[in-house]
Protein backbone atom coordinates (compact mmCIF):
# COMPACT_ATOMS: atom_id res chain seq x y z
CA UNK A 1 0.00 0.00 0.00
CA UNK A 2 1.32 3.37 -0.94
CA UNK A 3 0.14 6.52 0.74
CA UNK A 4 0.44 9.91 -0.90
CA UNK A 5 2.38 12.70 0.78
CA UNK A 6 -0.90 14.36 1.67
CA UNK A 7 -2.49 11.30 3.25
CA UNK A 8 0.58 10.81 5.44
CA UNK A 9 0.29 14.44 6.51
CA UNK A 10 -3.41 13.87 7.21
CA UNK A 11 -2.47 10.95 9.45
CA UNK A 12 0.10 13.14 11.21
CA UNK A 13 -2.62 15.76 11.74
CA UNK A 14 -4.93 13.09 13.15
CA UNK A 15 -2.11 11.74 15.31
CA UNK A 16 -1.34 15.19 16.74
CA UNK A 17 -5.01 15.70 17.43
CA UNK A 18 -5.34 12.38 19.26
CA UNK A 19 -2.09 12.85 21.17
CA UNK A 20 -3.08 16.31 22.33
CA UNK A 21 -6.56 15.08 23.18
CA UNK A 22 -4.90 12.55 25.48
CA UNK A 23 -2.31 14.76 27.18
CA UNK A 24 -3.74 18.29 27.06
CA UNK A 25 -6.53 18.86 29.55
CA UNK A 26 -9.63 20.39 28.03
CA UNK A 27 -8.40 19.97 24.45
CA UNK A 28 -11.53 18.07 23.46
CA UNK A 29 -13.98 20.37 25.24
CA UNK A 30 -16.52 21.91 22.89
CA UNK A 31 -15.37 25.35 23.97
CA UNK A 32 -11.81 24.67 22.88
CA UNK A 33 -12.80 23.04 19.60
CA UNK A 34 -14.96 26.04 18.73
CA UNK A 35 -12.23 28.50 19.59
CA UNK A 36 -9.83 26.59 17.34
CA UNK A 37 -12.39 26.80 14.55
CA UNK A 38 -12.55 30.55 15.04
CA UNK A 39 -8.77 30.93 14.93
CA UNK A 40 -8.01 28.70 11.97
CA UNK A 41 -9.68 30.43 8.97
CA UNK A 42 -7.71 33.69 8.94
CA UNK A 43 -4.37 31.89 8.91
CA UNK A 44 -5.67 29.15 6.62
CA UNK A 45 -6.70 31.62 3.93
CA UNK A 46 -3.32 33.36 3.97
CA UNK A 47 -1.58 29.98 3.78
CA UNK A 48 -3.71 28.98 0.78
CA UNK A 49 -2.84 32.27 -0.92
CA UNK A 50 0.84 31.67 -0.28
CA UNK A 51 0.54 28.09 -1.57
CA UNK A 52 -0.92 29.18 -4.91
CA UNK A 53 1.96 31.63 -5.36
CA UNK A 54 4.58 29.06 -4.33
CA UNK A 55 3.22 26.55 -6.86
CA UNK A 56 4.36 28.96 -9.59
CA UNK A 57 7.84 28.95 -8.02
CA UNK A 58 7.37 32.42 -6.56
CA UNK A 59 6.71 33.80 -3.12
CA UNK A 60 4.58 36.71 -1.93
CA UNK A 61 6.20 38.52 0.97
CA UNK A 62 3.67 41.34 0.74
CA UNK A 63 0.64 39.12 1.31
CA UNK A 64 0.02 40.05 4.95
CA UNK A 65 0.35 43.75 4.20
CA UNK A 66 -2.10 43.32 1.33
CA UNK A 67 -4.44 41.82 3.90
CA UNK A 68 -3.80 44.68 6.32
CA UNK A 69 -4.35 47.30 3.62
CA UNK A 70 -7.58 45.70 2.55
CA UNK A 71 -8.64 45.57 6.21
CA UNK A 72 -7.92 49.29 6.43
CA UNK A 73 -10.09 49.81 3.37
CA UNK A 74 -12.99 47.98 5.00
CA UNK A 75 -12.46 49.83 8.29
CA UNK A 76 -12.49 53.25 6.60
CA UNK A 77 -15.79 52.46 4.91
CA UNK A 78 -17.38 51.11 8.07
CA UNK A 79 -16.30 53.96 10.32
CA UNK A 80 -17.56 56.47 7.75
CA UNK A 81 -21.04 55.03 7.99
CA UNK A 82 -21.19 52.81 4.93
CA UNK A 83 -22.84 49.40 5.05
CA UNK A 84 -21.20 46.01 5.29
CA UNK A 85 -21.43 45.14 1.62
CA UNK A 86 -19.71 48.31 0.35
CA UNK A 87 -17.01 47.77 2.98
CA UNK A 88 -16.36 44.23 1.78
CA UNK A 89 -16.29 45.39 -1.83
CA UNK A 90 -13.76 48.11 -1.00
CA UNK A 91 -11.63 45.61 0.95
CA UNK A 92 -11.54 43.27 -2.02
CA UNK A 93 -10.88 46.17 -4.38
CA UNK A 94 -7.92 47.38 -2.30
CA UNK A 95 -6.43 43.89 -2.22
CA UNK A 96 -6.93 43.33 -5.94
CA UNK A 97 -5.25 46.65 -6.68
CA UNK A 98 -2.21 45.52 -4.66
CA UNK A 99 -2.27 42.12 -6.33
CA UNK A 100 -2.50 43.71 -9.76
CA UNK A 101 0.52 45.87 -8.99
CA UNK A 102 2.56 42.84 -7.88
CA UNK A 103 1.29 40.85 -10.85
CA UNK A 104 2.13 43.61 -13.29
CA UNK A 105 5.74 44.01 -12.17
CA UNK A 106 6.26 40.25 -11.92
CA UNK A 107 4.53 39.08 -15.09
CA UNK A 108 5.02 42.00 -17.49
CA UNK A 109 8.42 43.31 -16.43
CA UNK A 110 9.63 39.92 -15.30
CA UNK A 111 11.34 40.80 -12.03
CA UNK A 112 11.66 37.87 -9.64
CA UNK A 113 8.71 37.66 -7.22
CA UNK A 114 10.78 37.70 -4.04
CA UNK A 115 12.31 41.08 -4.97
CA UNK A 116 9.09 42.68 -6.11
CA UNK A 117 7.11 41.59 -3.07
CA UNK A 118 9.98 42.58 -0.78
CA UNK A 119 9.64 46.07 -2.17
CA UNK A 120 5.85 46.15 -2.22
CA UNK A 121 5.81 44.81 1.33
CA UNK A 122 7.57 47.99 2.47
CA UNK A 123 5.46 50.05 0.07
CA UNK A 124 2.09 48.72 1.26
CA UNK A 125 3.18 49.01 4.88
CA UNK A 126 4.04 52.63 4.16
CA UNK A 127 0.67 53.29 2.54
CA UNK A 128 -1.11 51.82 5.56
CA UNK A 129 1.02 53.95 7.91
CA UNK A 130 0.33 57.04 5.83
CA UNK A 131 -3.42 56.37 6.03
CA UNK A 132 -3.66 55.31 9.67
CA UNK A 133 -0.76 57.36 11.08
CA UNK A 134 0.15 54.21 12.98
CA UNK A 135 -3.10 54.23 14.95
CA UNK A 136 -5.66 51.49 14.94
CA UNK A 137 -9.11 51.98 13.48
CA UNK A 138 -11.83 50.32 15.47
CA UNK A 139 -15.51 50.29 16.32
CA UNK A 140 -17.41 48.52 13.56
CA UNK A 141 -21.10 47.68 13.39
CA UNK A 142 -22.48 44.59 15.12
CA UNK A 143 -23.53 43.11 11.81
CA UNK A 144 -19.94 43.21 10.56
CA UNK A 145 -18.56 41.50 13.64
CA UNK A 146 -20.84 38.54 12.92
CA UNK A 147 -18.61 37.52 9.99
CA UNK A 148 -15.76 36.58 12.30
CA UNK A 149 -17.68 35.83 15.48
CA UNK A 150 -21.03 34.50 14.30
CA UNK A 151 -22.29 30.97 13.83
CA UNK A 152 -23.67 29.39 10.70
CA UNK A 153 -27.07 27.80 11.50
CA UNK A 154 -26.19 28.40 15.13
CA UNK A 155 -23.70 25.53 15.11
CA UNK A 156 -20.49 26.00 13.16
CA UNK A 157 -18.51 29.27 13.17
CA UNK A 158 -19.34 31.22 10.03
CA UNK A 159 -15.67 31.93 9.35
CA UNK A 160 -14.76 28.24 9.09
CA UNK A 161 -17.57 27.76 6.60
CA UNK A 162 -16.09 30.60 4.54
CA UNK A 163 -12.66 28.97 4.80
CA UNK A 164 -13.91 25.54 3.69
CA UNK A 165 -15.77 27.17 0.83
CA UNK A 166 -12.64 28.94 -0.39
CA UNK A 167 -10.48 25.86 0.10
CA UNK A 168 -12.86 23.91 -2.15
CA UNK A 169 -12.96 26.74 -4.71
CA UNK A 170 -9.15 26.88 -4.73
CA UNK A 171 -8.88 23.12 -5.14
CA UNK A 172 -11.35 23.12 -8.05
CA UNK A 173 -9.67 26.11 -9.70
CA UNK A 174 -6.25 24.48 -9.44
CA UNK A 175 -7.15 20.99 -10.56
CA UNK A 176 -10.14 21.39 -12.88
CA UNK A 177 -9.63 24.60 -14.82
CA UNK A 178 -7.18 25.32 -17.59
CA UNK A 179 -5.82 28.21 -15.53
CA UNK A 180 -5.05 25.82 -12.68
CA UNK A 181 -3.26 23.36 -14.93
CA UNK A 182 -1.22 26.21 -16.42
CA UNK A 183 -0.25 27.28 -12.90
CA UNK A 184 1.29 23.86 -12.24
CA UNK A 185 2.86 23.76 -15.68
CA UNK A 186 4.36 27.20 -15.25
CA UNK A 187 5.74 26.15 -11.88
CA UNK A 188 7.50 23.10 -13.24
CA UNK A 189 8.78 24.53 -16.51
CA UNK A 190 8.27 28.11 -17.50
CA UNK A 191 9.79 27.90 -20.96
CA UNK A 192 8.03 24.71 -21.99
CA UNK A 193 4.74 26.22 -20.85
CA UNK A 194 5.32 29.32 -22.95
CA UNK A 195 6.16 27.23 -25.99
CA UNK A 196 3.07 25.09 -25.58
CA UNK A 197 1.00 28.17 -26.20
CA UNK A 198 0.17 29.32 -22.68
CA UNK A 199 0.11 33.06 -22.03
CA UNK A 200 2.47 32.94 -19.05
CA UNK A 201 2.04 36.56 -18.06
CA UNK A 202 -1.74 36.24 -17.92
CA UNK A 203 -1.52 33.08 -15.79
CA UNK A 204 0.87 34.80 -13.37
CA UNK A 205 -1.25 37.92 -13.18
CA UNK A 206 -4.26 35.83 -12.17
CA UNK A 207 -2.19 33.99 -9.55
CA UNK A 208 -1.28 37.22 -7.77
CA UNK A 209 -4.83 38.54 -8.13
CA UNK A 210 -6.26 35.34 -6.68
CA UNK A 211 -3.76 35.33 -3.80
CA UNK A 212 -4.69 38.90 -2.93
CA UNK A 213 -8.39 38.00 -3.10
CA UNK A 214 -7.80 35.28 -0.50
CA UNK A 215 -5.83 37.79 1.57
CA UNK A 216 -8.81 40.16 1.42
CA UNK A 217 -11.19 37.45 2.65
CA UNK A 218 -8.77 36.70 5.49
CA UNK A 219 -8.59 40.43 6.27
CA UNK A 220 -12.37 40.71 6.44
CA UNK A 221 -12.51 37.82 8.90
CA UNK A 222 -9.65 39.25 10.98
CA UNK A 223 -11.01 42.80 11.17
CA UNK A 224 -14.42 41.46 12.03
CA UNK A 225 -13.04 39.19 14.75
CA UNK A 226 -10.78 41.77 16.38
CA UNK A 227 -13.16 44.68 15.74
CA UNK A 228 -10.12 46.79 14.88
CA UNK A 229 -7.35 47.09 12.32
CA UNK A 230 -3.73 48.17 12.62
CA UNK A 231 -0.69 48.16 10.37
CA UNK A 232 0.52 44.82 11.72
CA UNK A 233 -2.77 43.00 11.10
CA UNK A 234 -1.80 39.38 10.50
CA UNK A 235 1.87 40.19 9.91
CA UNK A 236 2.93 37.28 12.12
CA UNK A 237 1.34 34.97 9.57
CA UNK A 238 3.82 35.88 6.83
CA UNK A 239 6.63 33.39 7.37
CA UNK A 240 4.25 30.93 9.04
CA UNK A 241 2.19 30.74 5.87
CA UNK A 242 5.31 29.84 3.89
CA UNK A 243 6.06 27.19 6.50
CA UNK A 244 2.51 25.82 6.28
CA UNK A 245 2.58 25.64 2.50
CA UNK A 246 5.94 23.87 2.51
CA UNK A 247 4.97 21.50 5.30
CA UNK A 248 1.84 20.78 3.27
CA UNK A 249 4.05 19.31 0.57
CA UNK A 250 4.23 22.31 -1.76
CA UNK A 251 7.51 22.35 -3.65
CA UNK A 252 9.25 25.64 -2.87
CA UNK A 253 10.70 25.63 -6.40
CA UNK A 254 7.22 25.33 -7.86
CA UNK A 255 5.27 22.79 -9.85
CA UNK A 256 3.69 20.86 -7.03
CA UNK A 257 1.32 21.63 -4.19
CA UNK A 258 -2.15 20.61 -3.10
CA UNK A 259 -4.84 22.45 -1.23
CA UNK A 260 -5.55 19.52 1.05
CA UNK A 261 -1.88 19.29 2.08
CA UNK A 262 -1.82 22.94 3.06
CA UNK A 263 -5.10 22.55 4.95
CA UNK A 264 -3.63 19.61 6.91
CA UNK A 265 -0.51 21.65 7.68
CA UNK A 266 -2.60 24.58 8.89
CA UNK A 267 -4.56 22.18 11.10
CA UNK A 268 -1.35 20.72 12.55
CA UNK A 269 -0.10 24.23 13.38
CA UNK A 270 -3.43 25.09 14.97
CA UNK A 271 -3.56 21.90 17.07
CA UNK A 272 0.00 22.37 18.29
CA UNK A 273 -0.44 26.06 19.06
CA UNK A 274 -3.61 25.39 20.98
CA UNK A 275 -2.47 22.18 22.66
CA UNK A 276 0.84 23.57 23.90
CA UNK A 277 -1.02 26.59 25.16
CA UNK A 278 -3.34 24.37 27.19
CA UNK A 279 -0.36 22.45 28.52
CA UNK A 280 1.00 25.73 29.86
CA UNK A 281 3.95 26.09 27.49
CA UNK A 282 5.36 29.56 26.97
CA UNK A 283 3.93 30.94 23.73
CA UNK A 284 7.39 31.48 22.22
CA UNK A 285 8.15 27.77 22.59
CA UNK A 286 5.33 27.07 20.12
CA UNK A 287 7.44 28.73 17.44
CA UNK A 288 10.35 26.49 18.38
CA UNK A 289 8.20 23.38 17.99
CA UNK A 290 6.78 24.55 14.66
CA UNK A 291 10.27 25.33 13.35
CA UNK A 292 11.54 21.94 14.48
CA UNK A 293 8.61 20.12 12.86
CA UNK A 294 9.18 21.95 9.59
CA UNK A 295 12.83 20.90 9.44
CA UNK A 296 12.16 17.38 10.71
CA UNK A 297 9.45 16.64 8.15
CA UNK A 298 11.63 17.84 5.29
CA UNK A 299 14.62 15.90 6.59
CA UNK A 300 12.41 12.82 6.78
CA UNK A 301 11.35 13.39 3.17
CA UNK A 302 15.01 13.49 2.21
CA UNK A 303 15.90 10.28 4.03
CA UNK A 304 12.86 8.38 2.77
CA UNK A 305 13.71 9.47 -0.78
CA UNK A 306 17.26 8.27 -0.29
CA UNK A 307 16.09 5.01 1.24
CA UNK A 308 13.79 4.44 -1.73
CA UNK A 309 16.63 5.11 -4.14
CA UNK A 310 18.91 2.66 -2.36
CA UNK A 311 16.18 0.03 -2.40
CA UNK A 312 15.55 0.62 -6.10
CA UNK A 313 19.19 0.31 -7.08
CA UNK A 314 19.44 -2.89 -5.05
CA UNK A 315 16.42 -4.27 -6.86
CA UNK A 316 17.96 -3.28 -10.18
CA UNK A 317 21.23 -4.97 -9.22
CA UNK A 318 19.43 -8.15 -8.26
CA UNK A 319 17.51 -8.16 -11.52
CA UNK A 320 20.74 -7.73 -13.42
Amino acid sequence: MKLSKESILGLIALGTFLLLALIAPGFLSSNNITSMMFQLPEFGLIALAMMVVIVTGGIDLSITYIAALSGVGAALMLTNGYGILPAIIVAIFFALACGAFNGFVISKIGVSPILVTLGTMVLFEGIILAITKGNSISGFSDGYSLIGNGYYLGLVPLSIVIFVLFAIITAILLSKTSWGRSVYMYGSNETATLFSGVKNSRVLMKVYLYASLLAAISAIIMTSRYNSVKVDLGSSYLLQSVAAAVLGGTNIHGGYGKVIGTVYAVMIFQFIRNGLNLLGFHSSLVDVVIGAILILVLAMNFFSDKFKKVAETRKAEKAA
Partner: protein, 327 residues
Protein backbone atom coordinates in the same frame (compact mmCIF):
# COMPACT_ATOMS: atom_id res chain seq x y z
CA UNK B 1 35.74 54.05 -19.58
CA UNK B 2 32.79 52.44 -21.38
CA UNK B 3 33.42 49.21 -19.51
CA UNK B 4 33.29 51.13 -16.26
CA UNK B 5 29.99 52.81 -17.12
CA UNK B 6 28.40 49.48 -17.91
CA UNK B 7 29.06 48.17 -14.43
CA UNK B 8 25.97 47.91 -12.31
CA UNK B 9 27.72 49.43 -9.33
CA UNK B 10 28.22 52.66 -11.25
CA UNK B 11 24.50 53.08 -11.78
CA UNK B 12 23.86 52.63 -8.04
CA UNK B 13 26.59 55.15 -7.31
CA UNK B 14 24.91 57.54 -9.74
CA UNK B 15 21.59 57.17 -7.91
CA UNK B 16 23.33 57.77 -4.58
CA UNK B 17 25.06 60.89 -5.91
CA UNK B 18 21.78 62.16 -7.33
CA UNK B 19 19.93 61.67 -4.05
CA UNK B 20 22.92 63.18 -2.24
CA UNK B 21 22.90 66.25 -4.48
CA UNK B 22 19.19 66.80 -3.88
CA UNK B 23 19.60 66.33 -0.15
CA UNK B 24 22.49 68.74 0.12
CA UNK B 25 20.19 71.44 -1.29
CA UNK B 26 17.34 70.46 0.99
CA UNK B 27 19.39 70.35 4.17
CA UNK B 28 22.70 72.04 4.91
CA UNK B 29 23.44 69.39 7.56
CA UNK B 30 23.56 66.55 5.04
CA UNK B 31 26.95 67.26 3.51
CA UNK B 32 28.89 67.33 6.78
CA UNK B 33 31.49 64.83 7.90
CA UNK B 34 29.65 64.34 11.19
CA UNK B 35 26.42 63.39 9.45
CA UNK B 36 28.21 60.93 7.19
CA UNK B 37 30.00 59.26 10.09
CA UNK B 38 26.62 59.00 11.85
CA UNK B 39 25.03 57.42 8.79
CA UNK B 40 27.78 54.85 8.45
CA UNK B 41 28.06 54.03 12.13
CA UNK B 42 24.32 53.55 12.33
CA UNK B 43 24.42 51.01 9.53
CA UNK B 44 27.48 48.97 10.48
CA UNK B 45 25.31 46.04 11.57
CA UNK B 46 23.28 46.15 8.36
CA UNK B 47 26.52 46.38 6.40
CA UNK B 48 28.21 43.40 8.04
CA UNK B 49 25.13 41.21 7.67
CA UNK B 50 24.61 42.32 4.08
CA UNK B 51 28.19 41.37 3.21
CA UNK B 52 27.60 37.86 4.55
CA UNK B 53 24.27 37.66 2.75
CA UNK B 54 25.99 38.64 -0.50
CA UNK B 55 27.94 35.38 -0.53
CA UNK B 56 24.77 33.37 0.11
CA UNK B 57 22.80 35.20 -2.58
CA UNK B 58 25.68 34.72 -5.04
CA UNK B 59 25.23 30.95 -4.61
CA UNK B 60 21.52 31.59 -5.39
CA UNK B 61 20.36 30.80 -1.85
CA UNK B 62 18.88 32.97 0.85
CA UNK B 63 19.12 33.14 4.63
CA UNK B 64 16.15 34.59 6.52
CA UNK B 65 17.53 33.60 9.92
CA UNK B 66 20.31 36.23 10.08
CA UNK B 67 18.48 38.65 12.34
CA UNK B 68 17.51 35.85 14.72
CA UNK B 69 21.08 34.49 14.82
CA UNK B 70 22.49 37.97 15.47
CA UNK B 71 19.97 38.54 18.25
CA UNK B 72 20.80 35.16 19.78
CA UNK B 73 24.51 35.98 19.82
CA UNK B 74 23.81 39.45 21.24
CA UNK B 75 21.74 37.94 24.03
CA UNK B 76 24.53 35.44 24.76
CA UNK B 77 26.98 38.34 24.94
CA UNK B 78 24.66 40.10 27.35
CA UNK B 79 24.65 37.09 29.66
CA UNK B 80 28.40 36.55 29.27
CA UNK B 81 29.12 40.04 30.53
CA UNK B 82 28.20 39.01 34.04
CA UNK B 83 30.95 36.36 34.01
CA UNK B 84 33.69 38.24 32.21
CA UNK B 85 36.25 40.23 34.21
CA UNK B 86 36.34 43.97 33.62
CA UNK B 87 39.44 44.29 31.47
CA UNK B 88 40.58 44.61 27.87
CA UNK B 89 41.03 40.88 27.73
CA UNK B 90 37.28 40.41 27.99
CA UNK B 91 36.71 42.51 24.90
CA UNK B 92 39.26 40.44 23.01
CA UNK B 93 37.69 37.28 24.36
CA UNK B 94 34.33 38.52 23.13
CA UNK B 95 35.70 38.74 19.61
CA UNK B 96 36.62 35.07 19.89
CA UNK B 97 33.45 33.80 21.53
CA UNK B 98 30.76 35.71 19.61
CA UNK B 99 31.85 34.59 16.12
CA UNK B 100 32.08 31.00 17.36
CA UNK B 101 28.50 31.08 18.69
CA UNK B 102 27.41 32.52 15.34
CA UNK B 103 29.49 29.93 13.50
CA UNK B 104 27.73 27.05 15.27
CA UNK B 105 24.32 28.35 14.23
CA UNK B 106 25.54 29.03 10.71
CA UNK B 107 26.91 25.49 10.50
CA UNK B 108 23.52 24.06 11.46
CA UNK B 109 21.93 25.99 8.59
CA UNK B 110 24.75 24.99 6.28
CA UNK B 111 24.60 21.29 7.13
CA UNK B 112 20.85 21.16 6.63
CA UNK B 113 21.17 22.93 3.28
CA UNK B 114 24.18 21.04 1.93
CA UNK B 115 23.92 17.53 3.37
CA UNK B 116 20.18 17.09 3.89
CA UNK B 117 19.43 19.16 0.78
CA UNK B 118 16.47 21.08 2.18
CA UNK B 119 15.92 24.34 0.27
CA UNK B 120 17.69 27.16 2.11
CA UNK B 121 14.63 29.35 2.49
CA UNK B 122 12.82 26.54 4.31
CA UNK B 123 15.78 25.64 6.52
CA UNK B 124 16.40 29.20 7.59
CA UNK B 125 12.68 29.77 8.08
CA UNK B 126 12.73 26.83 10.46
CA UNK B 127 15.85 27.94 12.31
CA UNK B 128 14.46 31.49 12.45
CA UNK B 129 11.42 30.15 14.27
CA UNK B 130 13.48 27.95 16.57
CA UNK B 131 16.15 30.51 17.48
CA UNK B 132 13.79 33.46 17.87
CA UNK B 133 11.47 31.31 19.99
CA UNK B 134 14.25 30.18 22.31
CA UNK B 135 15.60 33.73 22.64
CA UNK B 136 12.16 35.06 23.57
CA UNK B 137 11.60 32.22 26.00
CA UNK B 138 14.90 32.79 27.81
CA UNK B 139 14.79 36.58 27.88
CA UNK B 140 11.02 36.91 28.17
CA UNK B 141 11.40 39.83 25.78
CA UNK B 142 13.14 41.95 28.42
CA UNK B 143 16.19 43.80 27.44
CA UNK B 144 19.54 43.98 29.10
CA UNK B 145 20.81 47.55 29.42
CA UNK B 146 24.28 48.93 29.69
CA UNK B 147 24.43 49.07 33.50
CA UNK B 148 25.50 45.42 33.54
CA UNK B 149 28.12 45.93 30.82
CA UNK B 150 31.78 46.03 31.89
CA UNK B 151 33.30 49.49 31.56
CA UNK B 152 36.01 48.10 29.29
CA UNK B 153 33.34 47.20 26.73
CA UNK B 154 31.79 50.65 27.03
CA UNK B 155 35.22 52.16 26.44
CA UNK B 156 35.59 49.98 23.37
CA UNK B 157 32.15 51.00 22.12
CA UNK B 158 32.91 54.69 22.46
CA UNK B 159 36.48 54.48 21.18
CA UNK B 160 37.39 56.70 18.24
CA UNK B 161 40.54 56.36 16.19
CA UNK B 162 41.49 59.54 14.28
CA UNK B 163 38.00 60.85 14.96
CA UNK B 164 36.32 57.86 13.36
CA UNK B 165 34.26 55.48 15.52
CA UNK B 166 35.79 52.02 16.03
CA UNK B 167 32.72 50.27 14.57
CA UNK B 168 33.41 51.79 11.16
CA UNK B 169 36.87 50.16 11.22
CA UNK B 170 35.17 46.89 12.09
CA UNK B 171 32.95 47.16 9.01
CA UNK B 172 35.98 48.06 6.89
CA UNK B 173 37.91 45.01 8.10
CA UNK B 174 34.96 42.70 7.37
CA UNK B 175 34.46 44.27 3.93
CA UNK B 176 38.12 44.05 2.92
CA UNK B 177 38.42 40.51 4.29
CA UNK B 178 35.37 39.31 2.41
CA UNK B 179 36.45 41.09 -0.76
CA UNK B 180 39.81 39.32 -0.51
CA UNK B 181 38.14 35.95 0.02
CA UNK B 182 35.84 36.44 -2.97
CA UNK B 183 38.56 37.72 -5.24
CA UNK B 184 41.70 35.85 -4.34
CA UNK B 185 40.96 32.54 -2.66
CA UNK B 186 39.91 29.22 -4.09
CA UNK B 187 36.79 29.01 -1.97
CA UNK B 188 35.76 32.54 -2.97
CA UNK B 189 36.11 31.79 -6.65
CA UNK B 190 34.15 28.57 -6.11
CA UNK B 191 31.31 30.59 -4.55
CA UNK B 192 31.05 32.68 -7.71
CA UNK B 193 31.41 29.64 -9.94
CA UNK B 194 28.63 27.70 -8.20
CA UNK B 195 26.34 30.69 -8.46
CA UNK B 196 27.14 31.21 -12.12
CA UNK B 197 26.54 27.66 -13.23
CA UNK B 198 26.17 24.91 -10.67
CA UNK B 199 26.40 22.00 -13.07
CA UNK B 200 29.52 23.14 -14.87
CA UNK B 201 31.27 24.03 -11.65
CA UNK B 202 30.56 20.61 -10.13
CA UNK B 203 31.91 19.03 -13.32
CA UNK B 204 35.17 20.92 -13.07
CA UNK B 205 35.58 19.46 -9.62
CA UNK B 206 34.27 22.07 -7.21
CA UNK B 207 32.88 20.52 -4.03
CA UNK B 208 29.32 21.85 -4.08
CA UNK B 209 28.49 20.82 -0.52
CA UNK B 210 31.65 22.33 0.90
CA UNK B 211 30.95 25.68 -0.74
CA UNK B 212 27.35 25.76 0.51
CA UNK B 213 28.50 24.86 3.99
CA UNK B 214 31.13 27.59 3.80
CA UNK B 215 28.76 30.42 2.84
CA UNK B 216 26.34 29.64 5.65
CA UNK B 217 29.11 29.16 8.20
CA UNK B 218 30.67 32.46 7.11
CA UNK B 219 27.30 34.16 7.46
CA UNK B 220 27.18 32.80 11.01
CA UNK B 221 30.60 34.21 11.85
CA UNK B 222 29.63 37.61 10.48
CA UNK B 223 26.37 37.48 12.42
CA UNK B 224 28.49 36.98 15.53
CA UNK B 225 30.58 40.05 14.71
CA UNK B 226 27.42 42.01 13.85
CA UNK B 227 26.06 41.09 17.28
CA UNK B 228 29.08 42.73 18.94
CA UNK B 229 28.62 45.80 16.75
CA UNK B 230 24.90 45.94 17.58
CA UNK B 231 25.58 45.65 21.31
CA UNK B 232 28.29 48.29 21.12
CA UNK B 233 26.16 50.66 19.06
CA UNK B 234 22.88 50.44 20.97
CA UNK B 235 24.62 49.85 24.34
CA UNK B 236 21.87 47.41 25.16
CA UNK B 237 20.63 43.98 24.16
CA UNK B 238 17.08 44.07 22.85
CA UNK B 239 15.61 40.64 21.96
CA UNK B 240 13.05 42.33 19.68
CA UNK B 241 15.32 45.03 18.31
CA UNK B 242 16.18 43.32 15.07
CA UNK B 243 12.76 41.98 14.15
CA UNK B 244 12.44 41.87 10.37
CA UNK B 245 15.98 43.10 9.74
CA UNK B 246 16.63 40.06 7.52
CA UNK B 247 14.41 41.53 4.81
CA UNK B 248 16.24 44.88 4.93
CA UNK B 249 19.52 42.98 4.63
CA UNK B 250 18.26 41.14 1.55
CA UNK B 251 16.96 44.41 0.09
CA UNK B 252 20.37 46.05 0.57
CA UNK B 253 22.19 43.18 -1.14
CA UNK B 254 19.79 43.17 -4.07
CA UNK B 255 19.91 46.96 -4.45
CA UNK B 256 23.67 46.52 -4.52
CA UNK B 257 23.40 44.58 -7.73
CA UNK B 258 23.59 40.97 -6.60
CA UNK B 259 21.44 38.70 -8.71
CA UNK B 260 18.92 36.73 -6.65
CA UNK B 261 19.37 33.83 -9.11
CA UNK B 262 23.05 33.69 -8.28
CA UNK B 263 26.35 34.25 -9.97
CA UNK B 264 26.47 38.01 -9.69
CA UNK B 265 27.30 40.20 -6.71
CA UNK B 266 30.15 42.06 -5.10
CA UNK B 267 31.16 43.42 -1.73
CA UNK B 268 31.47 47.01 -2.94
CA UNK B 269 28.10 46.76 -4.68
CA UNK B 270 26.49 45.57 -1.47
CA UNK B 271 28.11 48.39 0.49
CA UNK B 272 26.65 50.84 -2.01
CA UNK B 273 23.27 49.19 -1.55
CA UNK B 274 23.54 49.65 2.21
CA UNK B 275 24.64 53.24 1.68
CA UNK B 276 21.67 53.89 -0.60
CA UNK B 277 19.19 52.61 1.99
CA UNK B 278 21.01 54.52 4.74
CA UNK B 279 21.14 57.82 2.87
CA UNK B 280 17.48 57.52 1.97
CA UNK B 281 16.59 57.00 5.62
CA UNK B 282 18.81 59.83 6.79
CA UNK B 283 17.76 62.13 3.97
CA UNK B 284 14.07 61.67 4.62
CA UNK B 285 14.57 62.63 8.23
CA UNK B 286 16.65 65.67 7.27
CA UNK B 287 14.12 66.63 4.60
CA UNK B 288 11.43 66.40 7.29
CA UNK B 289 9.33 63.97 5.32
CA UNK B 290 6.49 62.67 7.46
CA UNK B 291 7.67 59.43 9.10
CA UNK B 292 4.57 57.70 7.87
CA UNK B 293 5.48 58.39 4.27
CA UNK B 294 9.08 57.18 4.57
CA UNK B 295 8.20 53.54 3.99
CA UNK B 296 6.24 54.47 0.88
CA UNK B 297 9.32 56.17 -0.55
CA UNK B 298 11.66 53.32 0.45
CA UNK B 299 9.33 50.67 -0.97
CA UNK B 300 8.83 52.57 -4.20
CA UNK B 301 12.57 53.01 -4.64
CA UNK B 302 13.19 49.29 -4.10
CA UNK B 303 10.51 48.34 -6.66
CA UNK B 304 11.77 50.89 -9.19
CA UNK B 305 15.41 49.87 -8.67
CA UNK B 306 14.82 46.14 -9.13
CA UNK B 307 12.54 46.76 -12.13
CA UNK B 308 15.02 49.11 -13.76
CA UNK B 309 17.81 46.62 -13.15
CA UNK B 310 15.83 43.81 -14.69
CA UNK B 311 14.86 45.84 -17.74
CA UNK B 312 18.45 46.83 -18.43
CA UNK B 313 19.56 43.24 -17.88
CA UNK B 314 16.97 42.01 -20.38
CA UNK B 315 18.11 44.63 -22.90
CA UNK B 316 21.71 43.54 -22.63
CA UNK B 317 20.65 39.91 -23.05
CA UNK B 318 18.65 40.83 -26.16
CA UNK B 319 21.71 42.54 -27.60
CA UNK B 320 23.80 39.45 -26.91
CA UNK B 321 21.34 37.26 -28.78
CA UNK B 322 21.37 39.62 -31.78
CA UNK B 323 25.12 39.55 -32.08
CA UNK B 324 25.08 35.79 -32.11
CA UNK B 325 22.53 35.71 -34.91
CA UNK B 326 24.46 38.19 -37.03
CA UNK B 327 27.68 36.32 -36.62
Amino acid sequence: MKELLKQKEISILAIILLIGAVLSFVSPVFLTVGNFLDIIEGNVVLGILAIGMTLIIITSDIDVSVAAVTTAVAVSIGYLFTYLPDSWISVLLLFLIAPVIGLVMGLVNGLLVSIIEIPAIVVTLGTLNIIAGIVLYITNGNYINSTSFPTSFMEFANYELLGIPILIYLLAIVAIGTWYILKHTLIGRSVLAIGGNTQSSVRVGIDYKKVKLFVFAYMGVLAGIAAIAQTAYTKAVDPNGMLGLELTVIAAVVLGGANIHGGRGSVHGTLLGVLLLAIMQNGMILARIDTYWQNVVTGAIIVIAVSYDHISYKRSQDKLAKIEVEA
